[in-house]
Amino acid sequence: MKQKIFRHTLGRKNSWSVLAFSALSFILGMVALLFALQFYVDVKTAFTPQKDEEKLSYLIVSKEIGLMNTLTGARANFSTLELEDIKTKDFIHRVGDFKTNQFEVWTTGNHLFPIKTELFFESVPTDMLDVQSDLWRWKEGDVQVPVLLSKDFLSLYNFGYALVRGLPQVPASMATLAPAFQTEIYSAKGKKSIQLKLVGFTERIPSILVPAEFMDWANKELGSAETAQPSRLLLEVKDPANPDLIRFLQEKNYVVRQDAIEAAKVVETARWLLSILGAVGVLFMLLSAVLMLTQTQNLMLKVQAEIKLLLLLGYAVRDILLYLWSRFVLGMIVYTLLALGVFIYFYPKLLAVLAEKGLALTLNLSMMPYLVSLAFLAFSLLWGYASIRWQIKQQQ
């Protein structure tokens, strides 16, 4: 019966225009929030795809080669002190040395790659490679040596050398099936025959890579016994766009592959854009919340005389509060469902329009926008509760 009394005394003054405006402000705020958050998720995914992220977490650094290096023949190596310094930086996760050959290499190719050329080798720690292969192993006595080639080299061969020489172009999958390259390694200390077996192509390291075990053995057998300082380093970093890292590399005058820096800059810019998007979302949310509060107060003002009289006649604050708040909750839930409907219907249309304009984004299923909206709804409900309670208490 109390509910009927409340409906008759308090429900009568709900003006449709006020209700509609209140609903519209909440729905718009919620839709804007959902759009901003989903857009954030999609843009973020587009700017940091899994593959690029993996590639970007490895940086190849070297020291700048100056005129003095050319004139004196001094190698631009990293000193032990410099290596120690790099290893202490917390923005650098791990450091891998590049080892180079201290002997000469001459290959005569095979029938698929009929090239005769001098080569060089480098080796890096196996677990820092982007290619996993069962064939990537070598032990003393093995004649066959696995080799990883930079994918760029295959492109150079296919679109440069092979075209000029009228040789067939070779896809990566076939290249690894080709027979081993007959190869000689030699120095003043002697000469060895090996067979280079191509086991894959690396996108991470632009070099000709052999297992570190082979490199150590061959350098010991044919090279100078002393260990050379590395001239290139493979840095495993958590965040290549980390400003501290970029500053460190610049201060030390270390050279990083340009594409890594460019990619890092793009990611940094994307982060800024995403922060702005996030801020816009939060702004919409706050505006919507303020509008909601104003509308609730507006509705409450209209029934304040009725509330005052009900309190005077012996109605409890709690009962009036529960009645008004339950209507508020019901409204909010309906508005939220409407906002979700608008979002689910219109968001793919926005993506379609953007795709036409040249920004291709895919819809990523993420709970984040829904959870934030849910949190916003919960916040609005609590705010509504506090606001209604305060206004009823004012009439006591």
């Binding site: 019966m1 109390k2 009927k4 009394i5 008759h8 005394t9 009568r12 009725e306 009289l309 009900l310 309190l311 005077l312 006649l313 012996g314 109605y315 409890a316 604050v317």
Partner: protein, 213 residues
């Protein structure tokens, strides 16, 4: 009889500067349960103010109000207004957009000892049963006053504050309304406080008449 309501040196702050000798302001006063008190004064001497203080609507006074041994400051007014104390406001305070019957239901919803038939009989006695479905805003002031009287009587109460309850009723209707109020108060063993401009309003035995000025 036990001291149901105690007033200890009550003085409304707005009257401080123009206080006149009275039986209520700045007096130690005890109102006993089941008794009938009439408060008389000319207009503007604070009858409604006194009623509002008793009903817990005003706090702007000096002194202390004690109800059933409890200070009014710590009283559960919601419970008191629903179960122990009823009021007929001088300005009626009805929901004008509701019908006469709906206005009475506002009190019935909080609890009543009366059946619907009994309530309708009360309306019948006061000559307003035919107006039950009519919106209050369409009624005359006298008719509204009778709706307010029935609304005050249907709830359980031990104190009834009636602030000039017959101000817009003719002599005949006043007699009928006063009889009904008297009956219900006797049934409830309730204290009745009735204010009026003159001494001859309530045609039943009074336990005490208090003058405000």
């Amino acid at each position: 009889m036990q001291a149901f309501i105690q007033l200890k040196n009550i003085l409304p702050k707005p009257l401080e500067s123009r206080i006149e000798p009275s039986d209520i302001w700045q007096k130690e006063l005890v109102l006993e349960q089941g008794k009938v008190y009439q408060i008389i004064s000319a207009s503007g001497k604070g009858k409604s103010t006194f009623c509002h203080i008793l009903y817990g609507m005003r706090k702007d006074y000096k002194g202390e109000l004690i109800l059933e041994g409890k200070s009014s400051n710590v009283l559960d007014w919601t419970f008191w207004r629903a179960q122990k104390m009823s009021v007929i406001f001088q300005d009626l305070r009805l929901f004008n957009h509701l019908s006469a019957w709906e206005n009475i239901l506002v009190k019935v919803a909080l609890g009543t000892h009366f059946s619907e038939t009994e309530i309708k009989a009360m309306m019948e006695k006061l000559g307003i049963s035919h107006l039950a479905k009519q919106k209050v805003e369409t009624l005359s002031y006298g008719e509204r006053q009778r709706v307010a009287i029935v609304r005050a009587l249907v709830q359980p109460f031990q104190v009834l504050i009636a602030d000039e309850p017959f101000s817009h009723l003719d002599a005949e209707n006043t007699k009928i309304a006063a009889k009904l109020i008297h009956e219900v108060c006797q049934k409830n063993k309730a204290t009745l406080l009735i204010t009026s401009l003159g001494a001859d309003t309530f045609p039943f035995a009074l336990d005490k008449t208090l003058k405000l000025a």
